[in-house]
Symmetry: C2
Subunit: 396 residues, 2 copies
C-alpha cells in the first residue's frame, strides 16, 4: 500500500494560499515537496497570526508534510543550485504573477530544456495568457469578477463574498488535478508539460449552469438567498434559538413536514399543494413555515424532523463542525506533531483511497530546515561544508 | 498531442450534479464516458428547466462529451449486460446513497472481482463509512454542516448559503482528482481501488485555516462580510451606481488609494496610518471611504484605480462575466453543437495543459443515444438484433 506519489519530487515555489494548498494535496498523496522560501522571512503567511509558540496557524494549515529550503532567487548561485535540484525533480509548482519566473530564468521553457520530463504548474489569478494576465489578482477581486458575489446573498440585497477564499482553494485543487493529469500523460509520452491554471477560469467552471443558462436565455441569474431555485421548501428556516436547513423535496415529504410543524393544512392548501405552486407562493409559504419553526429550538426540530425522515441539518459554527461524529469517524481531524508548536490539529484529506490511505500527516517545516540536506545532496559536499556555505550566506 | 484520458473507459452511474461534474471533467480530458440512465426519463436533471427545444440546459451544462445508454438497474438482464460492459472499463463512478450499488450487486467488491483493474469512485454526502453514511444529504444540508454558511455574510447577520452548489461541485472535483490518483497508482500496481469521496469531507478541506485556527485557539470564527480578515482596506465598497472591490494591501497602496478618492489625509491620520490601526478603526475608515466612493460610478472608479496601480475589480453579474475579454481569450466560453438544441454555449475547462489542450467539446447525449452501439459491442449481436432487443424492452 504505497502512497500514490511516492518517489515524486516537487519543487514548490508557491506562497500564501492557492499554490500551497495545491502542493499540500500532493504531499498528502506522498510526494516529496521541497518548498523554496525567501531567506529570513519565508512565505508571507509565516507572519500571519494567530501563532502557537511563534508558529503561524495559517502557514501550518496549508504546508504540512513539506520540506523547506531558503534561497534568494536573485542570487545566481541560488538559481544554479535550484536548476541542479530541478534536474532531479518531477514537478515544479509556482504561483507568482506571470513573468516573474521568466525574469529569474526559471520559466517552463528554461527548465524543460534541462529536464524534459518536468511538469511545470503555474497558478495565477488570470492565467499565463490573455490580455489580463499581468493584472493584479486576489481572491476578493476574482470572486467579484467571477459572478459568485452577485449570486450569493438575499434577493435585492448587497453582493456577498463567500466566507473563505474560494477562488484560491478552487485553483489549488484544479492545479493538483492538472498535475495528476500531466503525470499520467507522462507515463505514455515520457515528456512533461506546462499546466496553466487561472483562478478566474476555475471559478467559472464551478458556477454550475449559471453561465450556460444566461447565455441561452439572456436572463441574468440573481441571488436567491438560502432557498433552492426550483424545489420548495428546500431552505434555511428560523428556529427559536437560531437557524436550520430543511429539504422537503417532494409532495410526500412536504406533507410530512407540514404535519411535523403543526401545519398539516399546508399540504392540501390550494396555494401550496404542488411544488410549482409552492414556488410561486413562496413568500406566503415562507412566512407560515417560519412562524411555526420559530416556536421551538434548533435541536428539538432536528430530532423531530429526523424521526419523520425529513432531511434537515444545523447551521454549524466551526466548534460544532469539528465535533461532528461523522467528521471524526472519517478522520477529517488529524494531528501533526510540530517541532516548535507541539501538537496541532488540522483538517484531514478528503481523498479516501482504499489502496493508498492517508493515515498520518507530517508537520509543516520550520524555515530552511532542509537547507543542509538539500545542499549536500545537490552539490555533493559534506555537512560541514554545507553549514559553512549557509553561514557565509552563499545562497542569500 | 493525445488527450490525457484517451482510451480510458468510464461507466458513469451518476445523476444530478456532483457525480456528473466529476465525469464531465474526465470526458473533457478525453475519457470515453458511458452514462447509464433510467429508461424513459433518464437523469433527473433532464426534467429541470429552462429548456432549449425541450433539452435541459442544466443537463447539457454538466454532461457534455458523454454517451448515454438506458438500462433498468433492477432488471437482471441489464445488470448482466452492465457487468460485461464493466469488464471492459477502467473506471466506475456513482453518486448513489451508500448501499444502493450493493443492493444492485454492483458494489466495488462485486465489480473488482470481475475486473481487478477497475477504479471505483463513489461520491456521496457523508461517505461510505461512519455513523452518518446513511443520512440524506443535499448541498444545502452539507453547506450548513460544514460551517461555510456561518462564515458567509455580514457580522451578526443571518447565515448565508453560497450562491451555487459548492458542496456538490467541490466533491465533483475531488472525485476526479481521486480517480486520477488511482489511475496513476494503477500504472505501478496493476490494480484498481475504491475512491470514497464525501461532500462534507471536501467542504472541510477548502475552509482554509478556519478549523485549524479554532482548534488551536478556541475562538469560533464568524462571518466578517466582504472584507479581508487581516489586511485593510481589502473589501467591497459602494459606488454611485453599484459596488466594486478594492485591494490596497500595504501602506504605499493605501496612500495612493486615499489620494485617488480625494481623501489624501487618511494616509497620515493617526487612526489609519498602519494596517493594524486601519483594522482596529475599520468602522470609522469604512464610513469615510464609502462616503468618497459613493460620489462616482463603478466604471470611473475602476479606470482611476487602475491608472494608479491599485488592485480593483467590478462585482460582475453573469452577463458581464461571459463578456470579459480574459474569459474569452482563455477559451472559457465554448460552443457545443447539440443534435436537438442546436448551438449551445457553455463554460470551458480550466485545465489548460500545453501538451493536451482541450480545443473543442462534444455535446451532451440524447437519452439512450448509444443503446444500439453498446449492446452490439457487448453482446456481439448485429444492429437489427440490438434494435429488436431494445424494442422488446429486454433491458427495461
Amino acid at each position: 500500500m504505497s502512497k500514490v506519489l511516492e518517489g515524486v519530487r516537487v519543487i514548490d515555489f508557491t506562497r500564501v494560499l492557492a499554490g500551497p494548498f495545491c502542493s499540500m494535496i500532493l504531499a498528502d498523496l506522498g510526494a516529496e515537496v521541497i518548498k523554496i522560501e525567501r531567506p529570513e522571512t519565508g512565505d508571507d503567511t509565516r507572519a500571519y497570526g494567530p501563532f502557537i509558540n511563534g508558529e503561524s496557524l495559517y502557514f501550518m494549515s496549508v504546508n504540512r508534510g513539506k520540506k523547506s529550503i531558503t534561497l534568494n532567487l536573485k542570487n545566481p548561485k541560488s538559481v544554479a543550485l535550484l536548476k541542479s535540484l530541478i534536474k532531479t525533480a518531477d514537478v515544479v509548482v509556482e504561483n507568482f504573477k506571470p513573468g516573474v519566473m521568466k525574469r529569474l530564468g526559471l520559466d517552463y521553457e528554461a527548465l524543460s530544456a534541462i529536464n524534459p520530463r518536468l511538469i511545470y504548474a503555474a497558478s495565477s489569478g488570470f492565467g499565463q495568457t490573455g490580455p489580463w494576465s499581468q493584472k493584479p489578482a486576489y481572491d476578493l477581486i476574482v470572486q467579484g469578477l467571477s459572478g459568485i458575489m452577485s449570486l450569493t446573498g438575499t434577493p435585492g440585497g448587497k453582493p456577498n463574498k463567500v466566507g473563505m477564499s474560494i477562488a484560491d482553494m478552487d485553483a489549488g485543487i484544479f492545479a493538483a488535478l492538472g498535475i495528476m493529469a500531466a503525470l499520467l500523460q507522462r507515463e505514455k509520452t515520457g515528456r512533461g508539460q506546462l499546466v496553466d491554471i487561472a483562478m478566474l477560469d476555475c471559478m467559472l467552471s464551478i458556477l454550475e449552469n449559471a453561465a450556460t443558462r444566461y447565455m441561452a436565455t439572456g436572463v441574468v441569474p440573481e441571488a436567491i438567498g438560502n432557498r433552492h431555485a426550483i424545489i420548495t421548501p428546500f431552505t434555511m428556516v428560523e428556529a427559536k434559538d437560531g437557524y436550520l436547513n430543511i429539504a422537503a423535496g417532494n409532495d410526500v415529504l412536504f406533507g410530512k413536514f407540514a404535519q411535523c410543524i403543526g401545519m398539516a393544512f399546508l399540504a392540501t392548501d390550494e396555494r401550496f399543494n404542488t411544488n410549482d405552486k409552492r414556488l410561486q407562493n413562496w413568500d406566503a409559504l415562507s412566512a407560515l413555515i417560519n412562524e411555526a419553526t420559530r416556536q421551538k429550538n434548533v435541536q428539538l426540530w432536528l430530532e423531530l424532523l429526523e424521526k419523520e425522515g425529513i432531511p434537515s441539518g444545523p447551521i454549524n459554527t466551526m466548534d460544532k463542525v469539528v465535533e461532528n461524529p461523522q467528521v471524526l469517524a472519517r478522520n477529517m481531524v488529524m494531528e501533526m506533531q510540530h517541532p516548535v508548536a507541539g501538537k496541532v490539529r488540522c483538517v484531514g484529506s478528503p481523498l479516501k483511497l482504499s489502496d493508498s490511505p492517508i493515515h498520518s500527516i507530517q508537520p509543516s517545516p520550520t524555515l530552511g530546515e532542509s537547507n543542509i540536506d538539500i545542499i549536500c545532496e545537490i552539490t555533493g559536499c559534506d555537512v560541514e561544508e554545507a553549514r559553512r556555505l549557509v553561514q557565509e550566506g552563499e545562497f542569500h
